[in-house]
Symmetry: C2
Subunit: 718 residues, 2 copies
Amino acid sequence: MTTSQKTDLQFLAPKSIAIIGASNKPEKRGYQAITQLQADGFNQHKIYPINPKAPDILGIKAYPSVMDVPDPIDIALVCTPAHSLPSVIADCGRKGIKGAVILAAGMSEMGEEGLILEQNMLAAAKEWNVRLVGPNTNGVFNLHCDLNMVGVSDAEKGEIGILSQSGNVMLAFVAEAKRKGGVGFSTYVGVGNQSDIRLSEYLEYFGDDNDTAVPAVYIEGFKEGDGRRFLDVARDVVQKKPVVVYKSGRTVAGQVSASSHTGSLAGSYQLTRDVLRQAGVTVVSESDKVLSVAETLGKLPLPKGNRVAILCDSGGHGTITTDALIEAGLQLAPLSAATIAKLKACLPPAAALNNPIDVAGATDEDTGAFADCTEILLQDSNVDVLMIVGMVGAYSVRFSATLLDNEMETSRRIIELTDKYAKPVIVQSVYYPLKPKPLLLLRDHGIPVFIWAEAAIRSGKELVDYAQARRRLAEAAPYPSNTPLAAGSAIFDTAYAQGRTALFESEAKQLLRSYGLAIPEEVVVRCEADLDNLPVQIADDSLAMKVVSKDILHKTDAGGVKLNVNGAQQRLSAYREIIANSQQYKADADIEGVLLAPMLKPGVEVILGVTQDPTFGPVMMFGLGGVFVEVLKDVVFRSIPLAEADAREMIEQIRAVEILNGVRGAKPIDREALVSLILKLSDLVWKHPEIAELDLNPVIANDTGCAIADARIILAEK
Amino acid sequence: MTTSQKTDLQFLAPKSIAIIGASNKPEKRGYQAITQLQADGFNQHKIYPINPKAPDILGIKAYPSVMDVPDPIDIALVCTPAHSLPSVIADCGRKGIKGAVILAAGMSEMGEEGLILEQNMLAAAKEWNVRLVGPNTNGVFNLHCDLNMVGVSDAEKGEIGILSQSGNVMLAFVAEAKRKGGVGFSTYVGVGNQSDIRLSEYLEYFGDDNDTAVPAVYIEGFKEGDGRRFLDVARDVVQKKPVVVYKSGRTVAGQVSASSHTGSLAGSYQLTRDVLRQAGVTVVSESDKVLSVAETLGKLPLPKGNRVAILCDSGGHGTITTDALIEAGLQLAPLSAATIAKLKACLPPAAALNNPIDVAGATDEDTGAFADCTEILLQDSNVDVLMIVGMVGAYSVRFSATLLDNEMETSRRIIELTDKYAKPVIVQSVYYPLKPKPLLLLRDHGIPVFIWAEAAIRSGKELVDYAQARRRLAEAAPYPSNTPLAAGSAIFDTAYAQGRTALFESEAKQLLRSYGLAIPEEVVVRCEADLDNLPVQIADDSLAMKVVSKDILHKTDAGGVKLNVNGAQQRLSAYREIIANSQQYKADADIEGVLLAPMLKPGVEVILGVTQDPTFGPVMMFGLGGVFVEVLKDVVFRSIPLAEADAREMIEQIRAVEILNGVRGAKPIDREALVSLILKLSDLVWKHPEIAELDLNPVIANDTGCAIADARIILAEK
């Protein structure tokens, strides 16, 4: 665990609750909260209505203040207005209440006055050691404690935890689960403004909560710095359970809408998605997929790979499933010869025995063939996931009610087989909306059932990816030391001492060299005479010459770059031209000299960039140069430090990766050299958080290695 | 109508039916078909069981043959095996039955023997003028005639027509509709092997069928040539009603699976999708979206543009909807000042008045504010589509049952307003799964309701695109004349006469010139002496020189290309080198000479390619050159002939289109020149169907025009 000490949010599973601002008026939250708690069976004797005037509320004895309650209280639901909060929270603290849920809106999201109210509230919370949920939340439920503050009467108890910046999104999950059936919830937290407790802390709580098999998280934006902590927490949690995230506020217009909602910073969606996935989080891009993905990930054993066998009784759905599978990047499992022989022995001659397997009527009179084939396929070590698609489980609906017993038996057998072989089985059946019993049996025993093949494949794909990410993270080395090298720090000290935050290219390259990045030999020439004393490997080479000046960042624009310079004659005239052009470009430029470096062997231009993201801290971007970055936005992000597997995935995930494998007669680039470069760069930035921006643009990658053609480093203001 | 004469498939709406192979055994289709017809209320006296032995079936008088039936018969359902078909069909013909549905499998999809059976069946059908549905189909239903052959008891009557190559896909639609409610079906045709009647003919039928508002089509593959006819029919049908297509067999693996299913040709998915969209078809890429898209398109009036207003009572769903809208390529409607003023007057101060509009609690006690805002927004001419999102219609569920009357009134008002302003309104409401009455009222009066914003946006986007395609097609000029120019035909005649199907580059360019495509001046030099007699504009220019030989197609590989050749001296040595290299490359090559053309001004390399697709006929591909085509597959297809709008859309739809607008300091290319080039090329190929392949690769596009650098034309074998 690389995060700071764990937060204790055990009050989210309370045995006793105070309702501060309890009311006898039915339209008030302080009334509804109590009726809801009663309806859900929360221990009647552990509800403490707090109201300075009423002797009892809804038949329960009320107290003027929490201080007057004789028993201990785990949590407070605060229904009073914003201005009352500092004193209410102080009372909670005096009473020893560990957590309070603050419903009041009108805080930081409403401008300066609200901000002051919020600061006062936070000060009280800190002074009195009370942790706050909200404000501006609709509350919390924990169905395993019969605790329901939010007034939803339809939430089924189950294993999905909901962490949400929107109450209505939770309601949508609850309503959808009600319709689907067989899926329910553990705890919901409406995080509101996250003034005190933030997303990463709740995630930690869900990670430890035994009632939650899958946290499902709706995020509009992280509070500053919490994004990074969320990643670190997620890396741990995903080793125990999947974490499903839906992130909104992805477009500029969406961010405007989100910030008027809860006032969070919403970063670049692509960056957010990439670094969350790096941390093992399952990022779902459409809100209507969240529940089914969470259900699938919560139910199924982890597959060893991405090879899927498809068993179907319908050509149409076999074809749709196959298309969706390939398009999702999964593989059709290559069945072993033994498997094919066994299938042949139990299916009619017309059956398709190569994956996808079509039973060709074998199940018409006895659906047991589904179970027979299931066993054969699960036995095959080439099969990681099995999908049964078409009309399985619904023959009694479609053909004859007399098949029901036979189908129930088939379902039981399939359930036993999935337990026996511990491989995931996913079912798609067209009649599932009519809820045939054999399908409900499967569903209630951990086999997800879908109406349409695409939805089944999407969930299966997320399962495969989660298993893969979990393996990757389990195998990743721990974070490296972040102690900087003295040589690096000395360069920064010099720049800071000179009042510079931009490093010279020569300094940047010297820094990169000190961290083991291969930079071609080069020299800075400070006067014409220096040109007569060049190292041999420079003097004999074809050269690139560039002006060195802290005042000239765009060297080409200044006429400060000459390429393919050969021999002493050309060197001298290039030197003179560069100096003259630069002086003309900016008369008062402080010109250090001219850099001479060997011309690079041609290759593929790639870009590596590092920035300090306000949400996620140091992150690296990788992409191909030129239009690939500028027009196609074909880039991948990772948070720093990267593990080796991160570097490999990063390269593999650009859309134009094939170019690196060699196209139009080019040889493949030296992939290992690129991986090594990425990891060294990661290590450098990890050890030097004072690097605000770093760009290697371009890096020329070819079959013999990666050459850094230009390096730009900007330091943070001191 | 550019298609051949319309097919008469009126027998799909029959008043009388013969069941050939009727049976008293409950497990037989010839029994089930009759019970199903009876259950669905088909006129008892118009069912004619045909069985050579039984005097009656299920209480209905049976006949030994259709010939023995005294009354006219509209359609026959043929349940007898494949070998009986020729004589059964002949009987149908003698009886004057216009159409027969053939259930038998084991035809062309099962190899040679089946193929012969199928040919005999077709011969009989042709001889006796009986049109055949199938074989290898599960049948037909027409719920508006109480005709149900397929034994589904759950199909609700409605306006969606289903045309499907898979019976199970139809079952999935029916089951999903049952769950959704408020959506139903007109006619279903399982097209089976399409041995006789093909997809395009059924589409024509659905186009004319007044009971069908939207045909929804599941296609694995078209029969040869039918793809082109389908496009032509679709262009007409979409002017009356939307056509929704889901195409499977999109991946190679999917095609293998599909072809084992019904034995169709499955072409490139991208090509299929592009040309279907060109014809105005709504192509849905995921099967689980088909029904909701068809429902939306069937219900709503057509929007004038893509500007959407979002009205919400939940920040979360407002944000999700906004993201989905922008990502789908729709626009947030820019509200007029008058609209904002009117909204301000009816909403509380905390309300967000700029799109998305958040009512900020205005609807808590009286949901009428939804209707008030609806009217304000629909009045704004900047608003093409309105989406109401969050919890609309479910306040009585969420807050208080006493709000039900108020919400019903709000729903009624919204329905009236959509009628009054004839603009589409789409609703997303989180509690829709619980079926609150105010939402069912909306749904049953033509306003689609969704649980999740993304699904709502997807359907809205398809509606906007359909409206746009319909306008495009309505404005498109009719197909141009396809009479070839004599100059063009002469070139082909020469090539054919010489036994060539590949044109020389010079011939190809001459052909292009004759169709008005600008090709730089160039000459073919056949001996060294010719070099002394060059036209001035060639002699003074910097030249590209290339070998001309029917035996050398890859000129660069042969060392047959020299670039940037300047002056008489260089021309001579380049000529000698090219000839020498080419002779060395292929000793027996027949070398015509060397082509001299001016070097082209730099620009963006684009590719235009034409091919004769076996399914869709002549199609054109457009993309950027090099890795954009080879690696990124960033290309767009259109069927030929293209309308001007097609050419513009084709250019606009490549992912890297921004490169054409000028990046990294380049000027935008001359877009009009490229449009003109595409249209002239389309015209050329339209007039010369003997062109099997044509490649202009590359075409150099820059701010002054488009220069065709290389042209390759292959003719069809004569």
